[in-house]
């Protein structure tokens, strides 16, 4: 399903953010991974009962925005303004995948009172010398694909990986991924660890940590690393999934997230 983005204006010289939004219900924000903004079936599932917002990393559409954003501090402030513009005045649910998980965790640690519940999926942001997070910018495409997926022949995955046969469309795909990766690398290359471990203690919301058991980019050992630093957090390991468990095991991840968001009280 294709939903046209709504361009949300920001102040200063920043260009509008092309936020994809759909559904009705309590608000959920999804921050995408390094390869670009998307509206996967997982978000479609959430939008049945929630108002889902999927913004783009700044600079992914208009690289000049990166001139105005030097580091993660600037980025967190950027998102705070965007969330205001989206009308998120009450605490809301925040989901981040991969690089987007790093950004979501930084945001939640900076503005803990704005977040109702937090979901991190195969999140970057921490570092262990014995389990290094792999490289996604300067890496051969075939090596990267091997790290991202449990099964590249599964229909959901194969459909994502197949380039369009239409040249103009294929070029647009290439450009989108090029600019998206560039805009995320701008903040975290070459090591996506910028001191988050010191700040995670500030996260006060209940947090669900979802990990693909076979993630070759951000190994599942990081699930425990996040859990040990976030007071109220739980881990759900998803079997037969790599770096995109919400794509490879969409049904299971959608259920996990919807149950978690619906639950009231403690664990």
């Amino acid at each position: 399903m294709t939903i046209s983005p709504k361009h949300v204006a920001l102040t200063g010289n920043l260009s509008p953010n092309p936020v994809i939004a759909a559904g009705d219900g309590s608000p959920v924000v999804f921050l995408h991974g390094p390869f670009g903004q998307e509206w996967p079936g997982f978000l479609e599932d959430l939008s049945a009962t929630h108002r889902v917002f999927a913004p783009a990393n700044p600079g992914a559409e208009e690289p000049a925005d990166l001139e105005l954003l030097d580091d993660l501090h600037d980025l967190v402030v950027y998102y705070d303004e965007l969330f205001d513009e989206l009308g998120l005045t009450e605490p809301f649910d925040l989901i981040g995948h991969s690089y987007g998980g790093l950004v979501a965790a930084e945001y939640a640690a900076t503005y803990p009172r704005r977040i109702r519940k937090l979901v991190l999926i195969d999140s970057m942001g921490l570092w262990r010398d014995d389990q290094p997070v792999n490289e996604y910018v300067t890496v051969a495409p075939e090596v990267l694909q091997g790290q991202l997926w449990h099964d590249t022949t599964a229909p959901a995955v194969a459909a994502r990986l197949a380039p369009s046969e239409d040249i103009a469309e294929a070029q647009a795909q290439f450009m989108k991924e090029y600019l998206s990766v560039a805009s995320t690398a701008h903040f975290v290359f070459p090591i996506p660890e910028r001191g988050l471990h010191k700040r995670l203690r500030r996260i006060s919301s209940e947090t669900l940590l979802i990990w693909g058991a076979e993630d070759g980019l951000v190994p599942s050992a990081y699930a425990q690393e996040f859990q040990s630093r976030i007071a109220s957090s739980e881990v759900r390991l998803v079997q037969a999934a790599g770096h995109f468990p919400h794509v490879e095991q969409q049904e299971e991840v959608s259920r996990l997230v919807l149950d978690f968001l619906a639950r009231t009280g403690g664990k």
């Binding site: 040249i167 290439f174 070459p190």
Partner: protein, 416 residues
Amino acid sequence: MAKTIWFHMQGYRDLPKDFKQRYESSWVSPPNRELCDSEKVREYVNLNLDELEFADDMGFDGVGTNEHHANVYGFPIAPTLTAATLARRQSDAAICILGTTIPTTVTMRVAEEIAWLDCMSGGRIIAGQPVGSAMDTVGVGGIPPTQVRKRWYEGMELIRQAWTKPGPFPFNGKFNKLRNVNPWPLPLQDPHPPLWLAGGGSLETYDYAAKYNYAYSYLSFNGAKYAKSLMQGYWDVIEKAGLDDNPYRAGFAQFILVADTDAEAERLYAEHVENFYNKSMHIPPHFSAPPGYMSKQSLENMMLKTGTASPFLTKQDPTFKDAVASGAAICGSPDTVAEQLIDAIKDLRVGHLIALMQMQSMPTELTKMNTQLFAEKVMPRIRDIWKEEGYVDHWWPSGATRNADVAQTVAAGEAK
């Protein structure tokens, strides 16, 4: 007169035959403990310096050195290191540093080191400042691709100020926060050594060269024919900026291989040419063009030109015959080489020829033979180019006085 700089890339001369099959890349990731033997490097480094000194003795207008890291075809690290050994020699040749990689270096250190070298050498330094390849800046240096050019712009501004504004003064950059910019010493040349730019055809660098009236050198291993449209782009920018068409604004790099006859040249050099293009040019797009290193506009242009979904095409290795036919390597008898070079220099309108005469695997005796034949039989013919027009080289170091008598004679002739 067109000037010739004998340029050494200082590569690793012995690589396994199946290098390309076994390793991902010639740059950034070729594993050091498998491939780089320090005993051999001890030998190479001294050969490299011998060859540079030999070229100096052979009467080249300048000798040149550059910076690359973890790269099989050249890993000279800091060009100021090589330049320091050359600066100590009694010589009147220019020392061309082309150049230091500002985005990955402490910029003030570059300003200070070059000033020191300029004093040491008696004002013979050319301070080349390329933006830096993605392999060096992103792959090895760990700079986010989107920040490479920004760091370069800021570094250039800092160096320019450091050499022209009385110190101490504060400099508040994004990447350089300094309370006391006050380099000791200042360069010997007044106001400072000529700043040269270098690149592979990016439009932003042409604009910068025009804005600050700096010389620009086109560096590639593809030869003059390939360079033609790109250099024309440069000259168009210069013209649009209202600057003159002085050929000393421009330089270009060229592989040059000379022997007594064309057949002898093929016999001596073919294996080294093929070795270079097979091994040294084995650089995958994920290192040469990581996302963000090239601007959105440049990528759009590239897509338009190539008409493919992924514009970073991998090329077939040229054979010796391909390399000669395309002009990537100018190879043959002194006559053959002189004719092709004269055409190339005139066609591209360059005043500075950066002669690449040691091609990675070439042994030192062959390198010296090549150098000597060129100096004796080709260089005198190149000197005549741009002679009659009487252009003045404003981009040459004032202390590098070699062949200045030739230039002065030309200027005197012009004055009459």
